[in-house]
């Protein structure tokens, strides 16, 4: 494991205003090496703005973000690309690349040579259970299959160890997955984190977030409402405040595993 002398990602009092509207305000948190953080919150809470700010795509109005102890802006694009991979909610690709070729695009920032690149691609394809799709043409895949191929692509990008700890940022990676693949991804994210890669993942399914994440960060109205271990963040009062939904824990009598059950309240929080 990597030394935990400094966090992989340090977010410090970050604020983002767009056209006079405050989308993020005073958000401070850190991501340690080898941990999975799930980012949850209702629609419009600022989750995507935050991941876009982290990825450098969104300019900050206030505060600062440091990656591996250096300000984000000081990272050259090529060096950043081998340390951090980002998967947006949706990628439109109309060109007839095969799934294998799409995954291979993740190796663009690397100069490891064709042999290693193709080995990584094959490993990742197998790892994400998309090997059987490898020779299919990307535009002919279903929504969930495309998302798995894109996930394989960003994994290929940070598959090999580099100078500094690596970070994987995923914006709702499982939104189109069937149940089996959602659970598979949870398992894989845990394995990836075990190898020292930090994972920041936006999730809508709180139950999935609970079994996936070391810590959960809950955003509401552009502010960080709570961050910490899943059971300390996913409390009835936090969930009611953020989502406007009544929630209670149900414990499985056999496995002892806890699940959240929801009831809609009269109003949906806006």
């Amino acid at each position: 494991m990597h030394a935990k002398s400094h966090p992989v990602l340090q977010i410090d009092s970050v604020g983002v205003d767009i056209e006079g509207v405050t989308l993020l305000d005073q958000v401070s948190m850190s991501v340690e090496a080898g941990e999975v953080i799930a980012l949850v919150g209702p629609n419009g809470a600022g989750k995507s703005t935050l991941v876009r700010a982290i990825s450098g795509e969104q300019q900050l109005s206030r505060g600062k973000i440091a990656f591996n102890n250096a300000p984000m802006a000081d990272w050259p694009l090529e060096a950043l690309a081998v340390h951090m991979a980002f998967m947006p909610q949706q990628s439109v690709l109309d060109f007839p690349f095969t799934a294998r070729e799409v995954v291979a695009l993740g190796r663009i920032p690397h100069s490891t040579g064709q042999l290693i690149d193709s080995q990584v691609v094959e490993q990742v394809l197998a790892y994400l259970d998309v090997g059987y799709l490898a020779d299919r043409v990307y535009p002919s895949l279903s929504g969930g299959e495309r998302q798995r191929v894109q996930l394989a692509r960003v994994l290929a990008q940070i598959w090999t160890p580099v100078e500094h700890p690596r970070l994987l940022v995923l914006d709702e990676p499982t939104s189109n997955f069937d149940l089996a693949h959602q659970l598979l991804v949870v398992k894989l994210l845990r394995e990836i984190a075990f190898q020292g890669i930090s994972v920041l993942v936006v999730m809508h399914d709180l139950n999935l977030a609970m079994i996936c994440a070391d810590r959960i960060a809950m955003l509401c109205c552009g502010q960080l409402q709570a961050i910490g271990r899943p059971e300390s963040v996913l409390t009835s009062s936090n969930i009611r405040q953020s989502f406007g939904v009544d929630a209670e824990f149900i414990q499985d009598s056999v496995t002892g595993q806890k699940h959240l059950a929801f009831t809609a309240t009269d109003r949906v929080k806006t």
Binding site: S55, G56, E57, L77, E78, A79, L80, A81, V82, M84, A85, F86, P88, S91, V92, L93, D94, F95, P96, F97, T98, E101, V102, L105, G106, I108, P109, D135, V137, S140, R153, Q157
Partner: protein, 342 residues
């Protein structure tokens, strides 16, 4: 799915280009053995070969290559397999430039006489210069209007602005056609159908220089273009300097289409169909797509020009008409093939 690997396709195309080039040189209204090329006499046949056939075959190959590569990079940049260099206003601007040159050529020649004699010496007519300036002007306008200091160049805005500028150019063209006399009108519309009968060695060298510039400046852009196909944000996360890549691609495509339009008029479909055919055969990877498109574009325009000289010999058809007649059915055939293969 893939009919051929990119590299194999390139070799195959090179192998096909050689006989096509020989055919383009050897076949014409006047026939004679190719050996007269090597005789040092100044017989009529050697002159025809050296000063007419060879430059014309080479120019058609070079223009075809430049057009096809320009089309391929534009489609990559716009992330749309149906994008075409005319989308950014090059062709429309160029045709306005030509019309201006044809209509006001007399006045212009008087005003810039000295300058013109230099350009005529280098093998370019006033019409070519007008076409190039018109095309370049339109692209600069489209690029400026769709670029903001905050967001860089917005590709969707560029498409819309390109359509607007194209409509404006069409209106200007119509206005000039309306005012033009019969002779001018005929020249304008002939130019818009494309022709290579003004080929000479100076034009060949100019176009060759353009192609070499293309190959040098696009050498490292293939991976960037591949990444751009995923999306601008995705490309950025793969370490690509997106704004710099966009600027380079736009400038190169505008230059390429501008130069080839200036030298050979508007030749439709090569920039659209050739890269598309290559993609259907060997996939969208730009590492082989650009080269294969260039060679296939050269072959296609040589064949089209050959036909344009033969069909109603000794008269000639505009080559743009032939590229459309030749290209469209083949394109549709390939399209149908892949649809049924899926």
């Amino acid at each position: 799915m893939r009919l051929l690997e990119g590299q194999k396709l390139c070799w195959l195309l090179i192998a096909a280009a050689v006989p096509v080039l020989i055919m383009a040189i050897a076949v014409g209204p006047v026939s004679f053995p190719l050996t007269s090329l090597f005789s040092n006499d100044n017989s009529q046949s050697a002159l025809i070969l050296r000063e007419i056939r060879i430059p014309r075959a080479l120019l058609s190959a070079l223009v075809g290559a430049v057009l096809a590569i320009s089309g391929a990079v534009m489609q990559g940049l716009f992330r749309n397999p149906l994008a075409d260099p005319s989308l950014i206003g090059v062709s429309a601007g160029a045709s306005v430039g030509t019309s201006v040159a044809i209509m006001f050529g007399g006045y212009l020649a008087g005003a810039f006489g000295g300058w013109l004699s230099i350009s005529t010496l280098s093998g370019l007519s006033l019409i070519s210069i007008g076409a190039f300036l018109g095309g370049a002007g339109a692209v600069v306008l489209v690029y400026r209007l769709s670029t903001s200091p905050y967001r860089g160049t917005s590709v969707p805005t560029m498409l819309l602005v390109g359509i607007a500028i194209g409509a404006l150019a069409a209106a200007l063209n119509n206005l000039m056609s309306f005012m033009a006399d019969n002779e001018m009108l005929r020249r304008m519309s002939l130019w818009q159908m494309g022709n290579l009968d003004l080929a000479n060695w100076n034009r060949v060298w100019l176009c060759l220089a353009m192609l070499v510039l293309f190959l040098i400046l696009l050498r490292n852009q293939s991976s960037n273009l591949n990444a751009l196909l995923l999306g601008e944000s995705e490309a950025r996360h793969l370490g690509v300097n997106v704004q710099a890549t966009k600027r380079r691609i736009i400038v190169l495509a505008a230059l390429g289409v501008g130069v080839s339009t200036a030298l050979a008029g508007t030749i439709a479909f090569v920039g659209l169909i050739v890269p598309h055919m290559v993609r259907l055969i060997s996939g969208p990877d730009h590492r082989s797509l650009l080269l294969a498109s260039g060679i296939m574009g050269a072959i296609m325009l040589m064949l089209a020009d050959l036909l344009s000289r033969l069909v109603i010999a000794p008269a000639e058809l505009p080559v743009g008409v032939i590229t459309a007649f030749l290209g469209v059915p083949f394109f549709v055939y390939l399209l149908r093939q892949t649809v049924s293969a899926r």
